[in-house]
């Protein structure tokens, strides 16, 4: 059910960024003030009741993550906000930082209090200069109002927030690589355990949360956790609230749209996105950033043994509500909830190649299966597209991808392997045609 909201970003077309007075007039910073009057544990419980599934891609429950933080003790705690937004197809966090920065800053204040931290770093991708500028301004304004600093809301619980910046590396979005980068090192992922809650930034207990997750915390405290969760159509799946849905590629109205969790891909693509360019047929959709395996519109939901799926079994995957667990159950992922749409004008083999060039370029090189595998996949795809590969090499590509998955320190490897395997499996005929005829029957293009 299409249930649009305007709690996270006020308006799609608004580009000036909200002023603090406007934000306060609409109830802004009331949630942080409320949180500061509650015991720390009660704030965490409110966030738990909101069922905010991590908006950075993995979908882990924010309240549960905060519950893992140890009791405040001798070592400082840190809140680190992941604003490295680099997953291909994803452009939602930038919208929040540019258009409603105070929603994020308020969430950071609440988050620090909830996890026993006095310092928060917002790790912003270097290229997002406007976002950084808006955040610094918002921080200064909040400080002037006394919401930040030594005595936020008159309470002696100091909170400081700083913007930190990366220097161009997709891998720094991975939370432990991000922590290394924050510490002034090469952005290489760390072995887990220890998890950040035990030893994160500067070896201290740390929670890393996505921009949109932290922004949602503000909304949850504002409305009450349970009420926030119930705005979602997937409350039953413990997937609460409202979130941002992105759509890009071959749609008439690409952009970021805000709605209750549980929107369907059909609603996102055809109602909000305006349908496919030139009213062409759609051949596939990558649901939530490039690391999520592509779905075909002909795929049918079939999840036996779970009563919650009964209304959807037998229907197109385009009619399944978009949620962390619903999409995991159909062999893909919700990821960042920003869909990339391919019409029949797009050659799926070239789309696959485009993505594998990305993974080859961005592999940090630390783990052999990922470094070698991503390079190998790129070379195999180059041969396939040139029409010089053999059928054996096509099968080899799937084998190489399978060998990356699960054999690396971080989830980058799975993020590269999953899409590769899905493209070959679901568009096998197109790949075979390249091999048999050098691609003569293919459109050989991506743009219309």
């Amino acid at each position: 059910m299409l249930n649009r909201t305007d709690l996270i970003i006020k308006s799609q077309d608004r580009t000036d960024g909200q002023s603090i007075s406007e934000y306060i007039a609409a109830g802004g910073y009331g949630a942080a003030e409320k949180a500061f009057s509650m015991p720390r544990e009660a704030v965490v419980n409110e966030v738990k009741a909101a069922h905010i599934r991590g908006r950075g891609g993995a979908g882990f429950d924010c309240g549960i993550k905060w519950g893992f933080m140890p009791q405040p003790g001798a070592r400082p705690h840190y809140l680190v906000v992941n604003a490295d937004e680099g997953e291909p197809g994803t452009f939602k966090d930038r919208k929040i930082m540019e258009q409603n920065p105070h929603l994020l800053i308020e969430g950071c204040i609440i988050g620090c209090y909830a996890i026993g931290a006095h310092a928060c770093y917002i790790y912003v991708r270097h290229e997002l200069h406007l976002a950084k500028e808006r955040l610094w301004t918002a921080i200064e304004q909040a400080k002037d109002k006394g919401y930040l600093g030594k005595h936020p809301f008159g309470k002696s619980y100091p909170v400081d927030i700083w913007v930190h910046t990366g220097a161009g590396a997709y891998i720094c979005g991975e939370e432990t690589a991000l922590l290394n980068s924050l510490e002034g090192k090469r952005g290489e992922p760390r072995l887990k355990p220890p998890f950040p809650a035990q030893a994160g930034a500067f070896d201290c207990p740390t929670s890393v949360n996505n921009v949109e997750t932290v922004a949602a915390v503000t909304l949850a405290l504002r409305s009450g956790g349970d009420a926030f969760s119930r705005m979602s159509l997937l409350h039953e799946f413990n997937d609460g609230g409202v979130r941002l849905f992105g759509v890009s590629g071959h749609v008439k109205r690409p952009g970021i749209y805000e709605a209750a969790v549980g929107l369907t891909l059909r609603e996102l693509i055809y109602d909000l996105g305006g349908g496919i360019l030139d009213d062409r047929p759609m051949i596939g959709v990558i649901p939530g950033g490039s690391s999520c395996p592509i779905l075909l519109p002909s795929e049918i939901v079939d999840v036996p043994g779970d009563r919650r799926f009964e209304p959807f079994n037998g229907k197109s995957v385009l009619d399944l509500p978009m949620g962390v667990d619903t999409f995991r159950s159909i062999g893909t992922m919700l990821g960042t909830c920003c869909a990339i749409v391919l019409s029949d004008a797009a050659d799926p083999v070239l789309a696959c190649r485009n993505l594998m060039q990305f993974y080859k370029h961005e592999s940090c090189g630390q783990c052999t299966p990922c470094r070698e595998g991503c390079g190998w996949l790129d070379r195999l795809l180059e041969k396939i597209v040139a029409g010089t590969a053999t059928m054996n090499e096509l099968n080899l590509a799937s084998e190489v991808a399978s060998n990356i998955a699960g054999n690396t320190i971080c989830a980058f490897g799975d993020g590269a392997a999953g899409p590769m395997l899905a493209f070959v499996q679901k568009f096998r005929a197109s790949f075979e045609d390249y091999i048999q005829s050098g691609g003569s029957k293919q459109t050989r293009r991506l743009a219309l």
Binding site: G89, T90, R94, A169, R186, S248
Partner: protein
Amino acid sequence: MAFSLTSEQSAELEQIVARYPVKQAACIPLLHLCQRANGNWISDEVILFVAEQLNLSPSHVTGVVSFYSLLNEKPPGKHQVWVCRTLSCALRGSEAILKHCEKRLGIKSGETTSDGNVTLRTAECLASCGSAPMLQIDEKYHENLTVERLDTLLESLRSEPKGTP
């Protein structure tokens, strides 16, 4: 010649260092500051300067610089242009945008014009996929590009060094 900062920039350095519990964390922000002050690249002198300021070994700083694509190990042109090549942009014509840039500037991606004015590169997804195709010029995004708008943009880069009234 040894690298140094102006007093204003040194004050900024102090502010940056004060944000973190350990000095090393200031490494990347300080590299950005120095890169800006040094014509957009990290020379050996900059590496020595940063290492000394933060009590790090020069090899640590070199390792950091080589890891990140936005820390330039060689001087780029006066203006830097990045064309996003990743899927959402490719679906909306980024390939044509890149080709047009190459033709207009007379260079290939990865090269700098002979007058040292423009360096052209491709970028991976710049979080602007809903306004594709797009490119970044220095610190600014230009979205929903058309070839006509691209011409105006590239033209403005060329005329700038002569000085505008």
